[in-house]
Symmetry: C3
Subunit: 342 residues, 3 copies
């Protein structure tokens, strides 16, 4: 595909400085783009070395200027670059239609542009909007409701009665609506508590690969709009994850945790059951949170503490053997003093 730089600048609402007729054939990274390619420089690190790229053009912030290379000035070069990537790269997609190798239950209601792959299985009384795609091995349980522009990748499942909003992406192998881990204790034995609630996933949520989101015991496990999870993230029953919160790989939330908006939960971090995490909280990697966290806090460690405290603690921790030795020395010196030897 070929586009002129003028066409690209228009597509991203950018201000072009350079050759409007320059032909661009692809978009690539700063390091990999060549004379027919376009790239972006979104921060000082790349802007400083803009002469080093071999790209035919660079998308830059509005305030940046240079004469040495074709530039397109935009408000957010990285977001603009995503638009350009989409210009040049036709995404993989399934052929619309229901493959004869799929299995569809009774009362399936769907909009336009539906694509159901072979070996996808849709239960009874399922309702989906426009442009919904189920890849091979997808399992949709009875009474599920799904919005528009939703893609569910191979071998993922959305179990009975769960609800997905618009523009939701479920990556392969992720399970939405499995039973919560709830048992009553009867002597030595654990008796299963029926898990009667659902999972509700709001608009623009992306769930990574091989994640698990359990249905609520009653009511709903609720993933609010704009949440993005990485792979192997575990979200237990009755959890609420607030808008635009992100969860990195192998992190987990125990039952009935409420996480606020715009939080960042780093890799392998976890929050213990029934806690409340405020808005705009950052939970560091491997942190194990065992108390509520107030709005805006940055915490790390297990048990969690303010991140700056954790940094200082970590520096001292590695010197513990020296500290111990020093304490022993102090003790000896005190012994000598007390015995009147000094």
């Amino acid at each position: 595909m070929k586009k002129t730089l003028a066409e690209i600048a228009k597509a991203i609402d950018g201000a072009l400085k350079g050759d409007p007729g320059k032909i661009i054939q692809y978009a690539a990274s700063f390091e990999e783009a060549g004379p027919e390619g376009i790239t972006f420089a979104g921060n000082k690190k790349y802007l400083k070395q803009i002469d080093a790229t071999k790209a035919g053009a660079v998308i830059v912030p509005r305030e940046f200027d240079t004469d040495s290379i074709n530039i397109v000035k935009t408000d957010n070069p990285q977001v603009a670059f995503i638009t350009v990537l989409e210009l040049f790269n036709k995404p993989y997609s399934l052929k619309p239609g229901i493959d004869p190798g799929a299995s569809i239950g009774d009362n399936f209601t769907h909009g336009s542009g539906l694509a159901v792959a072979p070996c996808a299985v849709v239960g009874n009384n399922v309702t989906v909007g426009d442009r919904v795609t189920f890849y091979p091995g997808v399992c949709i349980g009875d009474d599920v409701v799904i919005g528009d522009d939703v893609t569910i990748y191979p071998n993922a499942a959305v179990l009975e009665r769960c609800r997905l909003g618009n523009r939701v992406i479920i990556h392969p192998g992720s399970i939405i609506g499995s039973d919560g881990y709830g048992f009553a204790v009867d002597g030595d034995q654990y008796i299963k508590i029926p898990q009667l609630g659902i999972v509700q996933i709001d608009d623009d949520v992306e769930i990574g690969t091989n994640c698990t989101i359990d249905r609520a015991t009653f009511g709903r496990t609720w993933i609010q709009s704009g949440v993005k999870t990485d792979n192997m993230v575990h979200i237990a029953h009755n959890v609420v994850v607030g808008e635009n919160t992100v969860m990195v790989a192998q992190s987990g939330l125990s039952g009935s945790v409420h996480v606020g908006k715009r939080c960042r939960i780093a890799g392998k971090a976890a929050v213990a059951g029934h806690l409340t995490v405020g808005d705009d909280v950052t939970i560091g990697s491997r942190a194990g949170v065992i108390k509520n966290v107030a709005n805006g806090q940055i915490v790390s460690g297990f048990p969690e503490m303010p991140h700056t405290q954790w940094l200082k603690m970590s520096l001292v921790k590695r010197k513990l053997p020296e500290l111990k030795k020093k304490i022993a020395e102090l003790e000896e010196r005190l012994d000598r003093i007390e015995k009147g030897k000094v």
Copy 2:
């Protein structure tokens, strides 16, 4: 569905105090139940505030009493409540029969009430008991033997020769009987050791979502009766997990670990290879156990230590920077004394 309170009391072998003709229409949580609902109060926290519920009736312990609300006295209110939940909630289930979109191998032996969904695949020489359900995408390997009342949820697999007892539940995406991680070292290379054993899962076991239980190298990986695992639990080859032990999300057991009965292994905890964990052991969240643990111990931390010690240690750990400063001060004071300045 409607039931009188007398009918409910009878179903749970409870002693009713209040209106036996009271009509109950559903069961719900303490907070959510309304005048037509029934709930339970299983501990002091809820019993204290029993007047706060809007429920039409409350299931309580035998020894509790009040005149202000309909109550049903039972030995174990939570367990009784599960029975009531099951009265009011018809569980989702597959239609009995083998869907024409399923694939069944040679010599399939099964009892009554079998339900096999579309896109479930059963290998050769498989034997299953009564009331067995395979959801879509389930894969059962050759020579597998499964008992009665077993449910295997979407996209889970039980691989060749593994054996499941009665009333076993395998949640979606879990893999039973994948190869153990065993290699012989040959110079720089790792040579695969064939994994020739099986996984044996006894009665009343529930395996959470996206778990992995590897087959033994020889012999069996053995999950004993009553074990319940949460999601993303990893159990390596040749592990034995004793009766009624529970394992919380993202925990793991390395190869050849033996865990006793009635243990509680918390979230993200792990046990190193070839260790023995006794009966009635609690392993705290994120603990990394690297030595054998005796019966009845409660351990936390990495390396593990008694939980009470870990609690004290954790309190001091966060104050390490202050401790370091204090040591420096003591040193200065000693310096001054030794120089005769005090």
Copy 3:
């Protein structure tokens, strides 16, 4: 099956000492082998107690000698034993051919010995070599290229354009080529960055169960030859894992990490984004690596430190409450001295 000891010795290029006509009927572990079985003793622990085995013959190192039992001397008894295991154990395998319940896309090119199970789905323009096996529920995306002697187990997926070498094993539920976790920040929202690269997996790689290997943003996520991962291992976009490196269960590598050759990454360990780990590095269990690691280092802890330092630190850490108490005592003693009471 029956083999003479002479036949077995020949098959493993071993030197027999004992009865060449001895009939061997199976291979088993040191503890479990009986008079008709053969086992191996690969290290001093087992060689010392060689008289304790009831096996009919034992494979031993070249330098070992005994008159008390039939032995076969080899360079690497464990590797030789794998060969013997394969003599006696016919592996489970699918019937060659494409099952009518599989779904095959356009332009599928394959060599001899192909086996595709029911409910496996192969996309368009897929090319595979000889003796390739797709188990039930396997999903192969468009434009995938796969070498010879590759086995992909149930419910695993290899998504569009990814490339697998020869003798690759993908265990059940693992997803190769899911989208990397990449977003541009636009105010409060995260905008998905298209993930346009691939995953390349070289020869002799084995990926454990329920793992996730994300495709690169551009270019490739690259798993080099001989890498073996355990279960639930997460490898993010643009990671490179060097030849013959092993990764134990529940470990993870963040985006753009480069790991060298012959590394050992233990269970639940992780490496933060964009770091470089050299060759021959050992990362201890639960380690959280936040700086580059040089060739040959052994690191543990979070943040990581040399393993020997971590061991010493861990010993002191558990005694922190005592250390704190001791510091308080020293302070009191100093107080007394300074007040002239001593």
